[in-house]
């Protein structure tokens, strides 16, 4: 009888561990599913290259496409920059930039120096579109299919592996 009581702490702890483990796997896809399978939100913001030019959802016309959230203050964005250039140069698909809470001059000079992988960049200084997209920070990347529906979301650097694992499959649909 005494023995059974001694196993109690172990049993309780194992249950706790299982619960925690399930949170972990839960959280993993939850982040991604927030906006997946809904239409890309409407917006009206200026272009990064030209303050007077207003961009709207209609301008994102070359579909399917990637929407990439970036900024000059974001170091990880520079890490993924070469891969985005590669996607552009191999004409895999169109990439639109969402320049997030950034300085316009700095952003433009960065693109000039390192190359511009984007069809165009939306200038979102106040993070308005970013809020609608539920952006956590930069970098973040969304895949929009040919019907204008967000199919996948990735928080963090996009590289070869992430591309193959998460995005490539939607391209051939």
């Amino acid at each position: 009888m005494k023995k059974v009581i001694d196993i109690f702490p172990l049993a309780i702890f194992v249950v706790l561990l299982i619960v925690l483990f399930s949170f972990l796997s839960e959280k993993d896809d939850q982040l991604e599913t927030a906006l997946v399978d809904s239409d890309f939100p409407d917006f009206s913001l200026s272009a990064l290259s030209n303050d007077n030019k207003t961009l709207t959802k209609g301008d994102i016309s070359k579909l399917p496409a990637l929407i990439n959230v970036w900024a000059t203050w974001c170091i990880a964005c520079r890490v993924e920059h070469p891969f985005l250039m590669q996607l552009k140069n191999e004409s895999v698909l169109t990439i639109y930039g969402l320049n997030y809470k950034d300085n316009r001059t700095k952003a433009l000079s960065l693109l000039e120096r390192d190359g511009d992988p984007y069809e165009f960049s939306i200038y979102d200084f106040e993070g308005r579109l970013a809020i609608d997209l539920g952006v956590y920070g930069a970098p973040e990347t969304f895949f929009v299919d040919k019907n204008g529906v967000i199919r996948e979301r990735h928080v963090g650097v996009v590289d070869e592996t992430v591309w193959e694992k998460k995005f490539a499959k939607y391209l051939n649909e």
């Binding site: 005494k2 023995k3 001694d6 196993i7 702490p9 172990l10 702890f13 194992v14 561990l17 619960v19 925690l20 483990f21 399930s22 949170f23 972990l24 796997s25 839960e26 959280k27 993993d28 939850q30 982040l31 203050w73 974001c74 170091i75 520079r78 890490v79 809470k101 956590y136 928080v155």
Partner: protein
């Protein structure tokens, strides 16, 4: 090149801690002296193998080596040197290094100052600690390597340290907290070794007590500093938010307090042996669990570290290995031959039992409140709720009340036998008089009495008199008092002062949103607040709009400065509160929005007795540190 040296030494630390975790045990169980290693020397060597990588990382910060990814994410050319140093432990990777450093520090201290002559048993404690250290070292190298480089093109400047962390209190808050967390490794290792060697309860409890007390002291300091930091830096004027990360530190604190009380009974009377073992295991487990909650990103809070499920999985693995392992030993161990001395209902033993039950149930309730929102989210398919402060306050109050009532007379109880309660009438009269005295003082100061605070204020005078009066009964001279009673008197009086602070600040605080143009003034409480002017300030890495405000109670005038800072590298905004501290109250003002031209909104608060909370916590920390150090010397 230098970061690579740090990296390589970190790898050798990994290898050596692995050997330290295996060899002594192998030598003991195979009875083969060939395998035995000098554990004392190894503990020193291991310490240096982690100290060097840590110094290398500091060096990389100081010379602005932005090719190191961790430096570039957490520092900036314009960051003042002092904060570059603090940035070393300002994020996940570096703080892990510091954590391992702290564990190694504790291990050295234990190897040189333990009061046991049983060599094999000490080697086992060493081995188990090395296993924990190895696990953390592995975790660092595989998921959170601080020496990772951005090559071939390093950025010219970094992203900056999170602005709200650029602060004096913050630079010392994490190290203290990590010292507390990591110190709990020693009682854990002792409890496992005690089970393996079937140590006598009295013996192992006396080995464990100093380390538990000192860890608890560091936890207290770390938590108190965190609370102080939140108070003036977050700009809300609150001192405790029931944020998941605060809870993650509060839970191991409660358990370590329970543990060192239970160890007193174990050491003196040989009781609660099994219970103390379980508590040692769970105190350590909750300190790991806290780490898991914070760094796996499953909880969001002001403290959020980078989200990374992989890290969460790894910590869960560490947690599973050590806690399942130790609880497994616990479950198969035969405790039958242990004699448990009997004790009566109103004995000191029973007092400790009650104290432990209350603390543990409280800890479990807080743990439940912390992870309940997650469970709720999981079963309702993503609906988010927050149980928040109301839940925790409702839970805390009855437990705090019961614990405080117990604390007031606990020191009078005697071991084994029923205690006489002759002291009770006198204690009651004295604490009621002190209670009335406090009420009179409050009434003079604030022209007001709040009925809601009466219970807690009485509790604080009850604890205070219960603590102070006992010393009078014992007829100690000055030196004997210092040696025998100073630690407990200090810590328990600290608890009384903390309770008083909480009682007063939670019912006497007032706050108001005000809108002012320069040279306008407004009445608030007994103060007149004048908005003098605004000024632009250029800091080293921020731009700030500041407002000079003047408080006056009719005779004294004093200026404070409140700021809205925009940190240039990240564009992040922080509010710096302007605080004027007096003995009995804080005047607290924080800048709000710029409504038009020169018109600003402000939030102004009067926080009576708030400093007493941290003063009390400081006394608790000093008291438990003294109690710990006193016992370390007994070797």
């Amino acid at each position: 090149m230098i970061p690579e040296i740090g990296h390589i030494i970190l790898i050798s630390h990994l290898v050596l801690s692995f050997m330290g975790g295996i060899l002594p045990l192998a030598a003991i169980y195979s009875k083969n002296d060939f395998l035995s290693i000098p554990t004392k020397k190894l503990s020193v060597f291991l310490f240096f193998l982690i100290l060097v990588p840590f110094l290398v990382l500091i060096y990389s910060f100081l010379i602005d080596d932005f090719s190191v990814a961790y430096v570039s994410q957490n520092s900036n050319i314009n960051l003042p040197n002092y904060y570059k140093l603090a940035a070393t432990w300002g994020a996940h990777e570096g703080s892990l290094l510091l954590w391992i450093l702290a564990m190694n520090g504790w291990l050295i201290a234990f190897m040189f100052f333990n009061n046991s002559k049983d060599k094999d048993y000490i080697s086992t404690v060493f081995s188990i600690s090395c296993q924990v250290i190895f696990a953390f070292s592995l975790f660092t190298l595989f998921t959170s390597n601080p020496f990772e480089r951005i090559l071939p093109i390093p950025p010219l400047s970094g992203a900056d340290l999170n602005p709200s962390l650029q602060d004096i209190a913050f630079t010392v808050h994490p190290p203290l907290l990590y010292f507390g967390y990591s110190g709990l490794m020693i009682p854990f290792a002792i409890s496992v070794a005690a089970m393996l060697f079937s140590k006598d309860t009295k013996e192992w409890a006396s080995n464990s007590r100093p380390w538990t007390l000192m860890s608890c002291s560091f936890l207290t300091l770390g938590i108190a500093l965190g609370s102080w930091w939140a108070y003036y830096e977050l700009g809300w004027g609150g001192w405790w938010f029931w944020d998941p990360v605060e809870n993650a530190a509060f839970i191991p604190w409660l358990l370590s307090v329970a543990l060192f009380h239970s160890l007193i009974a174990s050491e003196n009377r040989g009781v609660f042996g099994k219970w103390s073992i379980l508590l040692s295991i769970f105190a350590f487990a909750t300190s790991l669990l806290g780490t898991f909650l914070v760094r796996s990103g499953i909880l969001t809070s002001v403290h959020a570290f980078a989200l990374d499920p992989e890290r969460g999985l790894f910590i869960l693995g560490i947690l599973a290995f050590f806690i399942i392992g130790s609880l497994f030993i616990y479950s198969i161990k035969d405790f039958e031959n242990e004699t448990t001395p009997s004790y009566e209902l109103t004995s000191k033993e029973f007092g400790f039992l009650l104290n432990n039950l209350l603390l543990v149930v409280l800890a479990v309730s807080i743990l439940f409140g912390t992870i309940f929102p997650l469970i709720y989210e999981a079963i309702t398919d993503g609906k988010q709720i927050s149980v928040g402060a109301p839940y925790f306050e409702v839970i805390l109050f009855p437990f705090a009340l019961a614990l405080g009532l117990l604390q007031g007379f606990a020191l009078y109880l005697s071991w084994g036998t029923s205690s006489s309660f002759k002291f009770l009438p006198r204690l009651l009269i004295e604490s009621v008089s002190v209670f009335l005295l406090i009420l009179i003082i409050l009434f003079i100061l604030f022209d007001n009495l709040h009925l809601t605070s009466f219970a807690t204020i009485f509790l604080s005078s009850w604890i205070l008199m219960g603590t102070l009066q006992i010393n009078k009964n014992k007829n100690l001279n000055y030196w004997r008092f210092l040696r025998k009673r100073a630690a407990v008197t200090f810590a328990h009086s600290g608890m009384a002062i903390l309770t008083l602070g909480v009682a007063v600040v939670s019912s006497y605080s007032i706050e108001k949103e005000i809108i002012l143009a320069p040279d306008d003034s407004v009445e608030f409480g007994n103060q007149t607040i004048l908005f003098k002017n605004t000024e632009d300030i250029m800091g080293p890495n921020y731009f700030s709009k500041s407002a000079t405000m003047s408080f006056s109670d009719g005779s004294n005038f004093s200026d404070v400065l409140t700021e809205k800072r925009t940190y240039s590298p990240s564009g992040q905004l922080t509010t710096e509160a302007g605080i004027k501290t007096e003995i009995f109250q804080d005047l607290y003002i924080s800048m709000g929005d710029n409504l038009e031209a020169d018109i600003w909104s402000f939030k102004v608060q009067i926080k009576p007795f708030i400093r007493w909370i941290w003063l009390g916590a400081l006394m608790i920390a000093i008291g438990s540190l003294l109690a710990g150090i006193k016992r370390v010397r007994k070797t």
